[in-house]
Amino acid sequence: MIDVLYFAWVRERIGLPREKVETRAPTVAALVEELKAREERYALAFADLSALRVALDQELASFDAPLAGVREVAFFPPMTGG
């Protein structure tokens, strides 16, 4: 089980801020494919990965990063702080 978190418009599109996901996906990209296959709202949120960023255990990562040992995955748009 991993915690999957969504922020900003990704959270709005999917309709929840976080959920627990049972997965054996080896990489972030594989997890994304599993989520997209679930429902239309996931497919819409993950339609364009170039518009998304991912963090693994609160560190920025890439979509081909492995998920082994990861407890928390977060998906969000490019950050707009400052």
């Binding site: 920025l60 748009p77 702080g81």
Partner: protein, 146 residues
């Protein structure tokens, strides 16, 4: 080094005074305060979402990076989240160093990195509705100069 991520308002003047009083052996202090713009009436409020936990870690890592690059005596970063109205301070950075060049450079570095590497997302609320602010290519390009 102090990092504060908070919904409460802060007083930039009081923060600058406290920072100056606590700094030891610096010859220069640079402070920057970012305010919510109204963009000619287009923005009535701003909602700032963040990623609790990662935000503090990311800002601390950025501040450490700055401290490793310039001889800083101290660094302060305050960033708000939640609902803000035009004119309100969103964030503030302060840097203290022996000489002004380093304090200015470190403050700019902090601002450039906070903009696109600290997990905040701004949503503008206006008369026409609400809209997430899109990241600008220029913000990403700004990192290349460091």
């Amino acid at each position: 080094m102090r990092v504060a991520v908070q919904s409460a308002p802060f007083d930039p003047g009081a923060e600058a005074t406290a920072f100056a009083a606590s700094v030891q052996g610096a010859g220069a202090i640079v402070t920057f305060t970012g305010l919510v713009r109204d963009d000619g009436g287009r923005i009535a409020a701003m909602e700032i979402e963040h990623y609790p936990g990662m935000t503090e870690r990311a800002i601390a890592a950025i501040a450490e990076k700055a401290a490793g690059r310039w001889p800083l005596s101290d660094v302060l970063v305050i960033h708000r989240h939640g609902r803000l109205v035009p004119g309100e301070p969103i964030m503030m950075v302060a840097t203290a160093a022996p000489h002004r060049g380093d304090a200015f450079a470190a403050a700019e570095f902090l601002m450039d990195w906070l903009k696109s590497r600290a997990p905040f997302w701004k949503k503008e609320i206006g008369p026409g509705g609400a809209e997430w602010v899109a990241a600008k290519d220029a913000d990403e390009d700004a990192l290349d100069r460091w």
